[in-house]
Each structure stands twice: as structure tokens, then as C-alpha cells.
């Protein structure tokens, strides 16, 4: 479904639901002051919401940390370019990153294209993520 030929390349930033909502509303990413790897920035992965189990995701992007599980309940969807570019994250298998100063604001008005969150036990997506031609 995602990343079909002819469409932009999509990346996914998993985070806590309210934070995801705030990122999308402001179209800005606030870089955290704490990062487990010691390198602050915008971290993304190629795993679309619902494509992997919570256990698998936790192992891949949270080092299996139970304390961070709330960060798997929402995702900000970013398209590739033109605001920032991602480089491969050497600490994860498939992750990408854009390093930035801790606490800084990274404006992404042209790359944030939607979000999804687990509500009522199911992934629900913003309307922007739907293919307009596929909707009734």
C-alpha cells in the first residue's frame, strides 16, 4: 500500500499520541532533549502503522524498552523532501535520521503529510493519508 511506484517515499516517526498530534498541528518537529543514543534529531523508520506487532516494533526502534511503549501508539507520516533529508541510522537496522540540536524546532510543512493513532484499539488514519481516488 505504502511506497508504490510514482508516489513519494514515506517514512514513519512513532511517538506518543498527543505529541504526534501536536507535531502535525504545528507542522513542526520539536527535537527532544533526551535521546537514548545520545544523538538528538528526527528519527524515522520504514514500518507503516499496523505492519508489525508491538513487540517487534519495540525491539526494532525502542530497544525493547517497556517504559516507552506509549510511543508506539501513534505515528507521524513524513514524505521524502524537500524540507530535510534523512541519512541511515547506524544504530538501527532500517531506521533513518536527521540530526539536529537538542530542543530545536525543525519545520516540516512540506513533508508532514498525516498521522495515525491507535484509538478504540485500532489504527485510525488522518484523511490526508487516503487515496482520494479510492474513496467512495
Amino acid at each position: 500500500m505504502w511506497n508504490r511506484p510514482g508516489s513519494p517515499r514515506y517514512w514513519f516517526h512513532y511517538t506518543e499520541r498527543t505529541r504526534a498530534r501536536a507535531i502535525v498541528a504545528s507542522k513542526t518537529f520539536k527535537v527532544g532533549t533526551k535521546h537514548t543514543k545520545g544523538r538528538a534529531g528526527v528519527y524515522v523508520c520504514p514500518y507503516a502503522p499496523g505492519s508489525r506487532t508491538e513487540e517487534d516494533l519495540a525491539g526494532r526502534i525502542l530497544d525493547g524498552s517497556y517504559h516507552e511503549r506509549e510511543k508506539l501508539r501513534a505515528v507521524v507520516v513524513l514524505a521524502s523532501g524537500p524540507d530535510i533529508t534523512f541519512e541511515s541510522d547506524p544504530d538501527t537496522r532500517d531506521g533513518m535520521r536527521h540530526l539536529a540540536d537538542p530542543g530545536s524546532l525543525v519545520e516540516l510543512p512540506n513533508q508532514i503529510v498525516g498521522w495515525a493513532a491507535i484509538v478504540d484499539g485500532q489504527w485510525q488514519h488522518s484523511l490526508t493519508l487516503f487515496d482520494p481516488l479510492a474513496l467512495p
Binding site: 505504502w2 513519494p8 506518543e16 490526508t128 479510492a134
Partner: protein
């Protein structure tokens, strides 16, 4: 992209579509990035930016909009900053101290979806006001204000008002479960000078003492577990050495249950043997082969320390004497009946401390009613102490 619509989670104002060929506004798909005079200057500028970024036709009006100095969305950045801190600092901290894990399922649902507890047609989400936090947690607005003033729960000033995120709900549930004296103690702690306050020092001392006791308790538990594992291992090795078919095979978990069951019987016989008071009719119901197996195995298990890790029993015991196998974490008694009993199971006593001979002796005296039970514990080197305890 998802192919079937779900409950839509959208915002007011234009939102860029995933295909970057248009935007969504008030639930409608709009193709292209033409200027819209019916929208606010901020929204029109946003559309102009997309037209510029994605190769659309940028009109003269849009070029003017792009040149405008627009005030940043101060409130939006305040919410973003607070939400980021809530996710990165407040929630992990609450989880680290066990506040998240102790929530009930219902409370967890409220933390994740606070609108379930709030009246009104519009779905409310974070940040919550004082009144909303009180409503979702069952606290009063006054309590919420007091807790926030005492920094017992994380709150943020957004657009000049107190606002709260999910970590505050977690804290509020925990605080609501305390009585007023406990909350007063926490408030005092928060306000105290940590370097020069007697109360703080006493609390620190109390916590240190509790941690120390907990660590000791865990250490003992680990010792016990190690002892049991050692015992199981010895039994498995013994059985393997005895059975030519098993000798070549490494014992597996699948074998463990069978070995344990088979050796339970053998161990009771070992006690009789060690105490020199085996009742012949105890074995009469078993087959000769089974009896032979039991005794052969017990001979191996009861080897002196050095060969199998056990100390040789101190010879036949008299009526009413007890041998404490501290490395087995079990106690076997030899009362007047001449039978060996497993203390914890048969007499309903538990051994919580090694060498606690006096306590065990008194307990047994009471239970058995003869008033003359003697206990022989082992010391740390595995030597049986022949001290008498009553």
C-alpha cells in the same frame, strides 16, 4: 496508503495530502494549490508555500503572501514543547517509578483516551484544563490545583493557563489513592531544603532501610532458588549415572518433571535411611525393583560433601530430633513415630531463615506436643551443628 477509511482524525485548516498534489480542508479533498480568498492569511500562505514547493502555478497574490512576515503560532509551539516533554520525560519517569504499571485497565484507557470521561459532543483531547483533569480522575479541582502547586504532578502554562497531559493523569490517579497525610508528607518533601531538613533525612533513611531489607530478601530468595536448582541438578545427574540409557543423554526440561516425581518418593526413603528408622512396611507396597531403584539413588544423593556436595547426616537421630537441610531449604523431622516428614508440606511450617533452629524447634514442639524437639542446623560450610535448641 490505507485503502479503507477509518474514523478520521483531522485538524482545521488545510493539511497536505500524502500524494503532495493537493490538500484536505474540512474533510474535502482539494486538487492543486490555488489561492483561496475565503481562508485566513496564514492558511493562504501555507497553500502558497505548497504551490511553490511542489511546482504548482504560484500566482502574484501568492507571491505577496510568501513575502509576508507571519507571526509564529506561539500557542502551537507551547503545546508542542509541552507534549514533547510529556512524552520524553514525564511519562517515562512515571513508568520508571511504577505509576503507569499500577494503573487499572480502566485507568489506562482514560489516560490514553480522556474524552471517554468528558461530557460534550466534541471529542476533547490533551491538553486538559484543571476541571477536565479533575473530571477524568475523580479528584476535585481544588486537589488538582494543590497538587500542581506542590509540583506533585506535571503541569504546563499554555496560553497563560494551567494545562495537563497524560503523565499528569497518571500522577493524579496515584495521588487520589493516597490519604491527606501522605499527600501532606509528599508536599513537605517537595518544599523542603534537601540538604538541611530533618524530615528529608529521615525519609531518606527510611527509604534506604527499606531498600536494604528488600535487597537482603532478594539475596536470600536467590540462594534458595540456587539451592533448589542444585538439588534438581544433582538428582538428574544421579539418575543419569544410574541408567545406562540416560547416561549418554543430557537431561532436558522434558525429563525434569518425571525425575522430580520419581525422586519425591526416594527422598522420603532417604530420610528413614539417614535416621536409621526405616519402617519395613513403608516399602512393602512397592515392587522389589522400585525399592531397589529408590535405595540405589538415595545412596548416591547422600554421599558426603566433596563428592556430591552434601554433608553426611550426623548418624541415627533419637526420637524427636530434627535435621535441618539448609541447602535443600527443607526440614525433615523424626518424631516418636519414627517417620520422616517434610516439614513445610506435612507440618505446614515454612523455613524462611537458615539456621533458625530455636524458632523451628519451638514451633515443632508446639505442633508435635512433646516439648522436646531438637534441631540440628548446618552452618555456612555445610557442617551439621549438634547444638540443642528447645
Amino acid at each position: 496508503m490505507p485503502e479503507t477509511p477509518a474514523t478520521r482524525i483531522d485538524f482545521s485548516g488545510p493539511q497536505l495530502r500524502a500524494d503532495q498534489r493537493g490538500y484536505v480542508l474540512d474533510g474535502e479533498f482539494v486538487d492543486g494549490f490555488d489561492d483561496r480568498r475565503d481562508l485566513s492569511p496564514l492558511a493562504r500562505r501555507q497553500i502558497a508555500m505548497w504551490a511553490d514547493a511542489f511546482g504548482g502555478d504560484v500566482s502574484d497574490v501568492q507571491r505577496e503572501l510568501l513575502g509576508l512576515d507571519v507571526e509564529p503560532d506561539r500557542v502551537g509551539v507551547e503545546i508542542l514543547t509541552a507534549a514533547t516533554r510529556n512524552a520524553d520525560v514525564d511519562l517515562p519517569l512515571a513508568s520508571e517509578f511504577g505509576l503507569v504499571e499500577r494503573l487499572t485497565d480502566e485507568q489506562t484507557l482514560v489516560v490514553r483516551e480522556p474524552w471517554r470521561m468528558l461530557a460534550g459532543g466534541e471529542r476533547r483531547d490533551y491538553p486538559l484544563t484543571v476541571g477536565e483533569l479533575a473530571a477524568v480522575t475523580g479528584a476535585t479541582a481544588k486537589q488538582v490545583r494543590e497538587w500542581e502547586n506542590a509540583t506533585l504532578l506535571p503541569g504546563y502554562r499554555i496560553d497563560g493557563r494551567r494545562q495537563f497531559f497524560s503523565a499528569a493523569v497518571v500522577h493524579a490517579f496515584a495521588l487520589a489513592a493516597l490519604d491527606r497525610y501522605q499527600v501532606a508528607a509528599l508536599t513537605t518533601l517537595q518544599a523542603a531544603d534537601a540538604d538541611d531538613d530533618c524530615f528529608v533525612r529521615l525519609v531518606e533513611h527510611t527509604l534506604a532501610t527499606r531498600r536494604s531489607r528488600l535487597a537482603e530478601s532478594r539475596r536470600r530468595f536467590a540462594e534458595v532458588a540456587q539451592g533448589i536448582l542444585g538439588q534438581i541438578r544433582a538428582v538428574l545427574v544421579s539418575a543419569s549415572a544410574e541408567d545406562p540409557q540416560e547416561r549418554s543423554a543430557t537431561p532436558t526440561d522434558d525429563d525434569l518433571g518425571e525425575h522430580l516425581a520419581r525422586t519425591t518418593l526416594a527422598r522420603s526413603v532417604k530420610l528413614h535411611d539417614a535416621f536409621g528408622a526405616i519402617a519395613s512396611d513403608d516399602l512393602s507396597a512397592r515392587s522389589d525393583a522400585e525399592s531397589h531403584l529408590v535405595f540405589e539413588r538415595e545412596k548416591r544423593v547422600s554421599k558426603p560433601r566433596g563428592s556430591s556436595g552434601r554433608t553426611k547426616p550426623p548418624g541415627p537421630l533419637s526420637s524427636g530430633e530434627v535435621l535441618l537441610y539448609d541447602d535443600d531449604f527443607e526440614l525433615f523431622v523424626h518424631p516418636a513415630s519414627g517417620k520422616g516428614w517434610k516439614l513445610s508440606a506435612d507440618l505446614g511450617l515454612s523455613v524462611s531463615r537458615k539456621n533458625d533452629a530455636v524458632r523451628i524447634g519451638k514451633l515443632l514442639s508446639t505442633r508435635l506436643g512433646d516439648g522436646a524437639v531438637r534441631v540440628y542446623p548446618r552452618d555456612d560450610r555445610g557442617i551439621v551443628k549438634r547444638s540443642v535448641s528447645r
